[in-house]
Amino acid sequence: MIGYLLLLLIALAVFGYFAGRRRAVSSVGGRQQELHSRPNYHGAFVAAWIGIPSILLVLVWLLLQGPVIDHLLLWSLPPGTTDGLSQGQIDLMLSEIRSVAAGNVFGEPSLAVQAAAERYQHWQVIARWAMAGAAVSVALLGLVLAGRRISPSFRARHGAERILSGLMIACSLIAILTTLGIVISLLIEALRFFDRVSIFEFLFGLNWEPQIPIREGQVTAGGAFGAIPVFAGTLLISAIAMTVAIPIGLFSAIYLTEYAHPKVRAAVKPVLELLAGVPTVVYGFFAVLTVAPALRDFGDTIGLSIAPNSALAAGAVMGIMIIPFISSLSDDAITAVPRAMRDGSYAMGATKGETITKVLLPAALPGIMGGILLAVSRAIGETMIVVMAAGIIASLTANPLEPVTTVTVQIVTLLIGDVEFDNPKTLAAFALGLFLFLATLALNVLALHIVRKYREQYE
C-alpha cells in the first residue's frame, strides 16, 4: 500500500514535469527563446512542488500514525482498564491487541481486547486511506499552485535551484542529526538506567552480573552492575592488541618509507592494507578456529593452562587487525617530515638508522602518537572479534591467559534476542554504549588535535 502510494506520487511528479514543460512552451507559443528559463526548469519546478511536500507528508504521517493510534486505543478502552498497570504491562496489552487484529489469536482474549482489536483494524484502514487522500491532495495542490506560476517571465531556474540547494542543505544536516540521534538516544536510555542503578555503583562497582530474572520465579543472581571488571577487560584486550600492533606496524612503516625499494613498497603496502579490509567477523572466526587452539596447544607443551577464550587470543587477533592502521598512519607521519631534516642528518654523516631513530622518529612522534590513539579507539570499539573470541563472564584479572569480557561484548550479549526496553539489563547496554561513545570520541578528538597541531609546525 505504502509502496504503491509512493509510486503514485512519483508518477504524479513525473507527470507534473512534463505538464510544466508543456505549459511553459505553450505559454510562449513555441518560441522558447522568449522564456526566462528553459522549459526543463519549469518542469522540474512543478515536479518538486508535487513530489517533495507530499512524500514528506507520507513520511511524517507514517512516523506519527503508530503512537497516535496507540494513544487513541488506550483512551478508548473501558475506563479503569489501565489503572494501576505499569508501562510494560500497557505495552504488553497493546501488542496483544495488535496481534489479535493481525489475526494471530493466542488463548482467549478478553472482550475488551477483541473490541479494541476491531477498533484498531478499523482505525488502521481509516488512517491508511486518509494518508493516501491527504498525500494525493497535497500533490495536486502543488501541481495547481506551481502550474499557475508558469509564465514567460517566471524565473523557474532560480526556483528550481533554490529547492535543490535546500535539499542539499537538508542532506548535510543528516550528519548532525545522526550525531544528535546517537547522543540523545544513548543519554535517554542511560539516564533511565541510572534511575534504577546508581551511577557510582556503575562506575566503581567491582561486580558485573547483569543476569536478573526476566520472568517471575526465574532463579538467577540478583543482578549487579559494577562496570569496573568490564572496563578493565576492555583495557587488557586493547593493551594486548597494541603490544602486537605497535611494533609490527611501526617497524614495517619505517622499513617501507626509508629502506624499501619503491617497487617493494608499491607491492607490500596494498597487501598490508588488505588486513584492514577483512571484515571483523572473519578475524573473530580466525581467532576461534586457529589462534585460540594453537595458543592452547602451545600452553600445554610448556605446562601453562590457557583458557580457550583467553584475553591473549582475542587481543592478538585484534592486534593483527590494527597493524595497517598503525603502519599507514606512521607511514604518513614519517613521509611528512620535511626533506631538509633528513638531508641535514645525512650531511652530518649519520647512517640511515641514526637518521631514522634520532631525527625522523622524534619529528614524526606527534603524528605517530595520533595514529596510535586512533588505533586504540578502534580497539576498544571493536566488537565482533571479542564477541566471538573473548569471554562473557566479567572477571577482574590482569592475567592475559584467562578470559575477560569487554564493553562491546556486554552490549551485544545484553541486547541479542528479544529486547524489552523496560529492563535494567537492556538499559545497562545503553549506559555502556554511552561510555564507549564518549571514550572513542575523546580519543579521536585528542588524536586529531595532536595530528593537526603537528602538521602546522612544518607547513
Binding site: 542532506c171 538516544s185 571484515p279 580466525f286 638508522g353 541479542i416 545503553f430 572513542t440
Partner: protein, 548 residues
C-alpha cells in the same frame, strides 16, 4: 716556559684507521642493519599472519564446496503417495525402504543407525522432488541424497575413521612406569609389576578369597604416580587385573597384611603401546554397522561428492549438510540496496553542498567535524542508535533489511561524503571557470560539468563504502538481522532476514562439526564478494582516470 708548544687536544685528532674508530663505525652500521632487519621481520610477520589467516580459512572452507551424496533408488509407490495430494505422502517409509533395498544387511535392529548415514532431511528431499515432479508417482527414481554431517566429514577425510585410543597424557603415564622398570612381559601378556599392600581390612582369606581387589590394585597403581589425579589412569589395568590379587592370596594366604609384588595385566591399548605401536580405535561417532554399510555403498560406486550448489541456492538449515547461503545473500542484497539508495544521493548532495556551496561559517564547520567524528564512531554504537531510534521509537519491524540498510547507510555516509569531496576537489578549477564564463549558473556548472567529471571517483568511493557495509556485523546483530531463515521465498524489505556476516556469526556459534567448514566457506563467499567489489572499484578508477 722555554719548552712552550701548542698542545693539540687529543679529541680533535681522529685516527680514522685506528681499531677504535673502525669498531665504532662497524657498530653504527650494525645498528643500521638491525633496524632494517626489524623492519623486514615486521613486514614478513604481518604478511605471514595474513597468509595464515587465508590458508586456515581456505583449507577448512574448501571441503564445504563439495557435498557427499549417495545415489539412492526410491520406489515412489502410489500406495504411499496420493497423486491428488503428493505433499502428504508417507515419504519416511519410502526412504527407509530405499535404504533397506540398497544397503545389504539392514535389520530392524540396526536400521535406525544405518538411516543416520543419510541426512535427517532425506524424506523431505524426496517429498520436495515428488511435489515438483508429480509424474514420478508409481515409478522408481534415483535421487542423490546428501549424507549426514559425520559421514560427509568422514568421506572428505576431515574426521578420521580411527582415533588414538590413548590420550597424550595417558601414554605419558605409561612411559613413566616403563622408565621405572615396572612394565614386564609375563605369560605372553604385558603386565605391571607393582608393590601391593594386602590390607587385611579389605580382604578375606576365604577360600575363596574375597575383598576389594580392584580398589587395592588401583591404590597400588596410584602409589606409583602420586601426582596424577585422574581416574582414567585406572583404565590402564585390564579388566581381569584384580584377579591377580585373588590368585596370589589363594596361593598363599600369608601375604595378607604384607606388601608383595604382583603382576597386573594391562588393558589392550596399553599392551599395543608396550609393543611400540600406536593403539587406534574406531571413532566413537560411528558404529561398526554404519561403517560397514557406508563401505558397501562406496564399493558399489554410489557415493559421489559433486559440487555443492546447494551452498548457494538453499537457505539456512539446522543440518549442516543442508545449510546454504541463499537467504543470507538475499538479506545482504536488500540491506545493501537500501543502504545504496539512501547513502548515495544523500552523500553526494551533502558533499556537493559542503564542497561547492557552503559558506564558511560555524554551522558548516560543525557539520564537517561531525562527519569526521562519525567516521570513527564504533559500529556497535550505530547498532544502538538503530535499536533505540528505528526500532524503539519509530516502531519499524525487527530483523528487517530495511532497518539494516538504514543503519548501514548512516555508517557509509561519511565514507561517501569524504570520497565525493575528494573527487570534486580533483576537478580542476578551469572547468568551473570556463563554464561560469559562458554564463552558466553555479548549479549548472555543478550539474553539467563538475559532477559528471567527478562521477568515477564518486562511484569508486561508493563501492568501497558498500564493501565496508557488506562486511559489517555488529550493528546488524543489535537490530536482530540474524534471524533463522530456512527458505528464500519470503525474504523482503520488511520481513525478518539475515545477512552474510551475521550468518557467519550464527554458523560459527553452532556446535555441529560440519558448520565449521560451512562457516569458512561462507567467509570465502563473503571475501569473494568483497574482492569483486574492490576489483570493480579499481577498474573504474583505472578506466576513467584522467590526468588534467
Amino acid at each position: 716556559m722555554s719548552d712552550a708548544k701548542v698542545i693539540k687536544p687529543e679529541s680533535l685528532t681522529i685516527d680514522w684507521q685506528s681499531d677504535k674508530t673502525n669498531r665504532r663505525v662497524r657498530r653504527r652500521y650494525a645498528a643500521n642493519r638491525r633496524l632494517q632487519a626489524y623492519g623486514i621481520i615486521a613486514i614478513v610477520l604481518a604478511i605471514g599472519l595474513l597468509g595464515v589467516l587465508v590458508t586456515s580459512i581456505v583449507s577448512t572452507g574448501a571441503p564445504a564446496f563439495v557435498q557427499t551424496k549417495v545415489d539412492l533408488q526410491l520406489d515412489i509407490d502410489s500406495a504411499k503417495v496420493d497423486p491428488q495430494d503428493p505433499a502428504s505422502g508417507n515419504y519416511r517409509t519410502i526412504f527407509r525402504d530405499a535404504v533397506a533395498n540398497t544397503v545389504p544387511g539392514v535389520t530392524s535392529k540396526n536400521q535406525r543407525s544405518i538411516t543416520k548415514i543419510f541426512s535427517s532431511d532425506a524424506p523431505y528431499i524426496v517429498r520436495d522432488y515428488v511435489v515438483s515432479h508429480p509424474d514420478v508417482i508409481g515409478k522408481t527414481v534415483t535421487l542423490a541424497i546428501p549424507v549426514s554431517d559425520p559421514f560427509d566429514q568422514l568421506y572428505k577425510g576431515v574426521i578420521p575413521l580411527k582415533v588414538d585410543a590413548l590420550s597424550w597424557s595417558e601414554a605419558r603415564w605409561f612411559e613413566r612406569l616403563k622408565n621405572r622398570a615396572v612394565v614386564v612381559e609375563q605369560d605372553g601378556r604385558t603386565g605391571l609389576k607393582l608393590d601391593v599392600y594386602i590390607d587385611p581390612a579389605k580382604v578375606e582369606a576365604g577360600p575363596p578369597p574375597s575383598g576389594e581387589f580392584a580398589a587395592l590394585a588401583q591404590d597400588s597403581l596410584q602409589a606409583y604416580l602420586p601426582n596424577v589425579r585422574d581416574s582414567s589412569l585406572f583404565k590402564m589395568l585390564a579388566d581381569d587385573a584384580p584377579e591377580a590379587i585373588a590368585k596370589r592370596i589363594a596361593a598363599d594366604s600369608g601375604v595378607i597384611g604384607k606388601t608383595v609384588q604382583i603382576v597386573f595385566p594391562v588393558s589392550a591399548p596399553y599392551a599395543e603401546l608396550a609393543k611400540g605401536e600406536t593403539p587406534k580405535v574406531l571413532n566413537p561417532r560411528y558404529s561398526p554397522d554404519q561403517i560397514e554399510a557406508f563401505d558397501t555403498l562406496k564399493e558399489r560406486g554410489l557415493v559421489r561428492s559433486p559440487f555443492n550448489w546447494e551452498l548457494f541456492f538453499r537457505a539456512d538449515s539446522r543440518f549442516p549438510e543442508r545449510a546454504g547461503l541463499a537467504g543470507a545473500i538475499a538479506g545482504s542484497f536488500y540491506a545493501l540496496l537500501v543502504c545504496f539508495l539512501l547513502s548515495f544521493p544523500i552523500g553526494i548532495a551533502a558533499a556537493v553542498y559542503l564542497e561547492e556551496f557552503a559558506p564558511k561559517n560555524r554551522i558548516t564547520d560543525l557539520i564537517e567535524v561531525n562527519i569526521n567524528n562519525l567516521a570513527a564512531v564504533p559500529s556497535v554504537v550505530f547498532g544502538l542508535l538503530g535499536l533505540a531510534v528505528f526500532l524503539g521509537y519509530f516502531g519499524l519491524p525487527r530483523s528487517a533489511p530495511l532497518v539494516g540498510g538504514m543503519v548501514l547507510s548512516l555508517m557509509t555516509l561519511p565514507t561517501i561524503i569524504i570520497a565525493t569531496r575528494a573527487a570534486l576537489k580533483a576537478v580542476p578549477p578551469s572547468i568551473r571557470e570556463a563554464a561560469l564564463g559562458v554564463g552558466a549558473s553555479k548549479h549548472q556548472v555543478m550539474m553539467h560539468h563538475v559532477l559528471p567529471l567527478a562521477l568515477p571517483g564518486i562511484l569508486t568511493g561508493t563501492i568501497i563504502g558498500m564493501a565496508q557495509a557488506l562486511g559489517e556485523t555488529a550493528p546488524l546483530l543489535l537490530i536482530g538481522m540474524n534471524a533463522f531463515i530456512p527458505s528464500v521465498e519470503n525474504v523482503g524489505l520488511l520481513e525478518p532476514a539475515t545477512s552474510l556476516p551475521t550468518q557467519i556469526y550464527s554458523w560459527a556459534d553452532s556446535p555441529e562439526r560440519g558448520f565449521v567448514s560451512r562457516t569458512s566457506a561462507a567467509i570465502l563467499v563473503l571475501l569473494g564478494f568483497l574482492v569483486l567489489m574492490n576489483v570493480i572499484a579499481v577498474a573504474l578508477r583505472h578506466m576513467f582516470e584522467r590526468k588534467w
